[in-house]
């Protein structure tokens, strides 16, 4: 780990100012950043601690809920307003990491979680376009069990654009289904970014996970009032190699607003399948106005996985994702609460 300076900011403005320094990074819980610094994947020369800048509250309003960027994952998951109105988010948060990691990890930090692709996190591997631009993609011809089946850039292992990494977050999958918005603040002011547009597909630049500028700070996440309508009928389904404390092979965040047996509105997103949580507007559209039946769910699953392409070790994910969508939506009709 290379040496770095440490500054504890006391307000968002001060943090943004300090964060504009060359080589600076914001420090939240540190559960991902410090880990990657130990591996030599991240090497900031200045850390700006943003845990004490007054962004640690969850506040309800008529327009929905505002979640401060430094609210810890465990506090968010157990917040009464979230459990009551957005249980899908609680369920997803509690499906990720371990209790001690969730006590450290922040809302803003979770949005910026980096891929767990082995070829990215292990600097002994020579090829990773995300870590070392232009070096190629080791995963494409390597062990690619945890990798992408949708939205990836696949132009061969030596292309500078190829990247089949996946976003590892559980929280973000729920935020996509709930149509959240990310509030950010930078030297040029504040802006709001729909979460579904916050993360990027690799395209021709796998180094960039999100559209966030290097000097921009996440200040909050807001949840709209209308997706609280999923409260009674939502489910987070996470398929993984261990029952607990493992990243998703495939996960599904499903929220339904039911009127009798008819789906009035729906939120559906997938984790573990792409460079960002996967949201298919067409699949959601295929649910609305239809009866909440297996046939409807199967149709949505086919649409969501349209164009999916698997590799040597992860081809199973295509079928797994379809089955998870059907099961997740079926569980949602029963509800996440007794």
């Amino acid at each position: 780990m290379i040496p770095f300076s440490y500054t504890r900011a006391d307000a968002p403005e001060a943090a943004v100012h300090a964060g504009a320094a060359h080589g600076a990074k914001f420090l939240g819980g540190g559960t991902n950043l410090v880990d990657l610094m130990k591996y030599g994947v991240e090497s900031p020369t200045a850390l700006v601690d943003v845990n004490h800048i007054g962004l640690d509250k969850v506040t309800a309003s008529a327009g929905g809920v505002n979640i401060g960027a430094s609210v810890r994952n465990s506090d968010l998951a157990n917040h009464p307003d979230i459990v009551a109105n957005y249980p899908l988010l609680s369920f997803a948060l509690l499906s990720g990491a371990s209790p001690q990691l969730r006590n450290l990890a922040t809302t803003g930090g979770n949005l910026l979680q980096r891929t767990r692709c082995y070829y990215f996190t292990d600097t002994a591997f020579p090829a990773c376009n995300k870590r070392k631009p232009g070096s190629g993609c080791g995963a494409l011809v390597g062990f690619n069990r945890i990798h992408a089946i949708l939205g990836q850039t696949d132009q061969g292992p030596t292309s500078p654009h190829t990247c089949i990494a996946t976003n590892p977050s559980d929280m973000c999958v729920a935020l996509y289904a709930l149509n959240a918005t990310v509030e950010v603040q930078g030297p040029k002011g504040k802006r709001s970014i729909p979460v579904r547009e916050f993360h990027r597909l690799p395209g021709e630049d796998p180094t960039r996970d999100t559209v966030l500028g290097p000097d921009e700070l996440i200040t909050a996440v807001t949840l709209p009032a209308n997706t609280a309508a999923f409260a009674k009928n939502s489910w987070y389904l996470k398929a993984r190699d261990r029952q607990s404390y493992a990243f998703a092979l495939v996960s599904v965040a499903a929220g339904l607003e039911l009127q009798g047996d008819t789906i009035k509105s729906a939120g559906l997103a997938l984790g573990g399948v792409a460079h960002k949580p996967w949201h298919s507007p067409e699949a959601e559209h295929a649910l609305v106005g239809k009866p909440a039946t297996e046939a409807t769910f199967k149709q949505a699953a086919e649409i969501a996985l349209r164009g999916a392409k698997g590799y040597k070790d992860n081809a199973f994910k295509v079928e797994l994702a379809k089955n998870c969508i059907v099961r997740g939506l079926t569980q949602a009709t029963k509800g996440a609460r007794a």
Binding site: F4, R8, V83, F91, P99, R337, A338
Partner: protein, 232 residues
């Protein structure tokens, strides 16, 4: 989890050597005297000489005051120092263990303001302002914490390396359950209003602490006993 396993292999071998030697020394003194301990220190620590270098890559040191087990400790450390390394290397509080050093095994678990946290991923400088409790602050030989007593009673360990982390974690778990905190299992079972600490809940809530010896059934029994006794 392979880094964890490799480190634990070394630890177990060293313990065996220590027992054979039958020295009236602590394990750390023995290791230091025999020169075995090098890798662990080098991994987390910049040598003191670094701190005097200058230039763009010079180590940056920072004075800080931490409250650890209700004692104020003031020292100057490299900003890169993890809370775990500070406890073990600077303050000789070696109860907290280094397993994987990457937040995967839970052996380093301590309490920050009563909440369990991985001290290996917590920078010491970032821990300022929190009340830090380590296994040494929970109880001692003459006055065991109820969770410590339960681990003894139920034989919740074999080699003991993960035990301080398990006990810190379990101590926080009991408090979380008292508050009515939820887990993934609470949602799966539909018990989202003050869920009971069933064995399934205990296993899920202890999943951040890995035990390579596989003492899990006895760990669950120990936690169950404290939760049912309600005196932790």
């Amino acid at each position: 989890m392979s880094p964890c396993s490799e480190l634990l292999d070394v630890e177990m071998d060293e313990s065996a050597v220590e027992q054979d030697a039958q020295l009236q020394l602590t394990r750390r003194q023995f290791l230091a005297a025999s020169g075995v301990v090098t890798a662990g220190v080098a991994a987390g620590f910049a040598p003191a000489a670094d701190a005097q270098d200058s230039g763009p890559h010079a180590a940056q040191t920072i004075p800080l005051t931490l409250s650890i087990n209700k004692q104020q400790r003031t020292l100057t450390v490299d900003t890169r120092t993890s809370l775990l390394d500070l406890l073990r290397e600077n303050l000789d509080l070696t109860g907290s263990k280094k397993g994987c050093d990457h937040g995967q095994c839970g052996a380093c678990t301590v309490l920050l303001d009563g909440r369990r946290a991985n001290s290996c991923l917590t920078l010491a400088v970032a821990a300022q302002g929190y009340e830090i409790t380590t296994i040494e602050g929970l109880g001692d030989e003459n006055n065991l914490h109820p969770v410590q007593a339960a681990f003894l009673e139920h034989d919740g360990y074999q080699c003991g390396y993960c035990t301080p982390g398990q006990i810190c974690s379990a101590t926080a778990l009991i408090e979380e359950a008292k508050r009515g905190d939820l887990s993934q299992v609470s949602f799966e079972t539909g018990q989202t209003t003050r869920p009971q600490l069933t064995d399934e809940e205990i296993r899920e809530r202890m999943s951040g602490n890995i035990c390579r010896c596989g003492a899990y059934p006895n760990i669950v029994a120990a936690v169950r006993a404290v939760a049912m006794g309600g005196n932790a």
